[in-house]
Symmetry: C2
Subunit: 425 residues, 2 copies
Amino acid sequence: MGRLVMKFGGTSVADIDKIRNVARHVKREVDAGHEVAVVVSAMAGKTNELVAWCAQAAGDAPGHNSASYDPKEYDAVVASGEQVTSGLLAITLQAMGLRARSWQGWQIPIRTSDAHGSARILEIDGDGLISRFQDHKEVAVIAGFPGIEPAGGRISTLGRGGSDTSAVAIAAAVKADRCDIYTDVDGVYTCDPRVVPRARRLDRIAFEDMLELASQGAKVLQVRSVELGMAYRMPIFVRSSFDRPEDIDPAATPPGTLICAEEEIMESHVVTGIAFSRDEAQISVRHVEDRPGIAAAIFGPLAEANINVDMIVQNVSEDGRTTDLTFTVPAADHARAKATISTAKDHIGYARLDTATDVSKISVIGSGMRSHAGVAAMAFRALAERDINIRAITTSEIKFSLLIDSAYTELAVRILHTLYGLDQV
Amino acid sequence: MGRLVMKFGGTSVADIDKIRNVARHVKREVDAGHEVAVVVSAMAGKTNELVAWCAQAAGDAPGHNSASYDPKEYDAVVASGEQVTSGLLAITLQAMGLRARSWQGWQIPIRTSDAHGSARILEIDGDGLISRFQDHKEVAVIAGFPGIEPAGGRISTLGRGGSDTSAVAIAAAVKADRCDIYTDVDGVYTCDPRVVPRARRLDRIAFEDMLELASQGAKVLQVRSVELGMAYRMPIFVRSSFDRPEDIDPAATPPGTLICAEEEIMESHVVTGIAFSRDEAQISVRHVEDRPGIAAAIFGPLAEANINVDMIVQNVSEDGRTTDLTFTVPAADHARAKATISTAKDHIGYARLDTATDVSKISVIGSGMRSHAGVAAMAFRALAERDINIRAITTSEIKFSLLIDSAYTELAVRILHTLYGLDQV
């Protein structure tokens, strides 16, 4: 017997039939002897409807996005979506003979910062939930994503998609054994299966590796929920919401991926997965003076222009006086970034600006790299054999990233996937 | 300058355009220098949708009404409707340049009994609202109808239509000068204008008279809201939500009816209004023994059968041994009531049962009757002159009711309307 948090997104609770399906998943876990807290989102489409009403009320034309209305009221309006689902699921569970009750963020409470619309969780009081588990054998149905801002006593929300994060935070607060995230994919893969058909679902992945994979574009889970899981060492199990509850063998390990601490992964591969992103632009600043403050002179104006800089590569200068500095930005920001650097030319002091769009970044991720030398060198060799030119390289402890021409993205990704033994057999 | 509570029902906030219209009404009062709390219902149709989902979640077939699901969860689900409207109206008011914020029942708090789904208000803490009026010049937008049950900390609701009642209760809590109820009629009339075309809108009506009118079938306001207004001496102004805000002259008295204490009504008529109800059935129990306990023997079984008895007339017995006892029930319950009394015949002991359907009850209401003799006698005479037979009579301090054949309902109502000087001139 254990304690389990189960999280279901909007498409899993889109109507009463789907809510009933969720209830059957919950019943399966309760019947297996677990104490269960369920975290639910608003019914699919509801949040969009509520957001649109807020914009209209503020006088925005439909489709217009720069709404500047009171985020406290936005939170009060959109939080109602999760409130409805939590009550309906509680009723459904009760109709199946289970004890259940709904919990709103302010009832638990889930205390958050006052950044309405994108609040951060400060503290969750899990004692009330735990005592209900123990004294009432009751399933807690929790509206995922709204909380309460303690000073003002107002409803807050974590921002769109914040329910992954609140599920993990609740799991930590109630000292759960695991947090199950039911999603529209059946787990985390070594690479995007649409690009690499032989991509394998990982049975387990370390928090660190998942963080790199998630922020590199694997859109399975919110980055913040993984950070939280790592901080609280809360295992997160990613599994499919499409599995029919009646088809699941409670004795067997269900299909899915467990995100957990590195030491809980026995059969450790050196490389865990490969992520990539197209739509990068590369900007090389040639012959800048090699002096303190030069990086600030370049990246200060870019930050002020709200341009997100990703890779940064600066080589040790050959002559001790000038050096080349390369960085990447989203392709959509290429022209703005170029203009920003050109405007600051006198202040920075450089000889030439070389830029390229149509480049891709490929990241090879694996916490096993820490103890293995030569992992990156294998990649350089394999790509060179196929005449794929590497424009730039950055490395960290558990990852290295390569910038290449976009045209070679799929080829390079597949070569590396095979090279590191990630292919399905 | 005064303090005002304004209440708008579901049809007044059915979409964003209608909410904007409500906001203009609010702005008009704020511009006139008032401190304003607005009480809003859910957008029209929303509550029905939420109630239907609860029933479906509980496994009820659509249209099936005997849902037996947890009323605590029902309350959590349906309360979301008012939450949405309160946030949207606050956003709309802010977009018009007013300071405004939404308040949920648990934030104020509105403390209620634990009778979920039909809770009674126990206490409203008005201090928070009052200090926001004074310190922030802020409009309070209050979700009308949900509260909080203090022991469990759960959301409660007052039951369908409870927002009239919560508006008056909030007005009392914030020591408002008046509670304005915006409805789909423009006030309280001396009689139903569909039956009496010359019915007049009353400028003022005493709480007592309104209570009688409301419970006799004038469906302008909930009876409980009038009771509450009377208990707290809170003037309630019934006015039309269809009046366009821009057409209203802030200096003039708007069309509508003020429900207030008797002593605030100067031009007092003896009779205030006339109410009637068709669909009554009359049951006369002939020659029952005139002994203690006989009324209990008759009405006990009816109460157990859940039959609502209205008029009861028992005459002083002629011979000191037997008497006749007449009462009315809703026409729909006629057969059941007759069967119930027949079954209990041996226990009651009576000679004969005379019953009639197709009878109507006409009530003449006026707190001025207290100080005027012969008011009812005028009616007896006027009806006799037209050969309208009176089957039974009951009287109270401020009302008398007559039972007549249904066919004469409209005629009798119009005769009495003219007789007591209620006709529009």
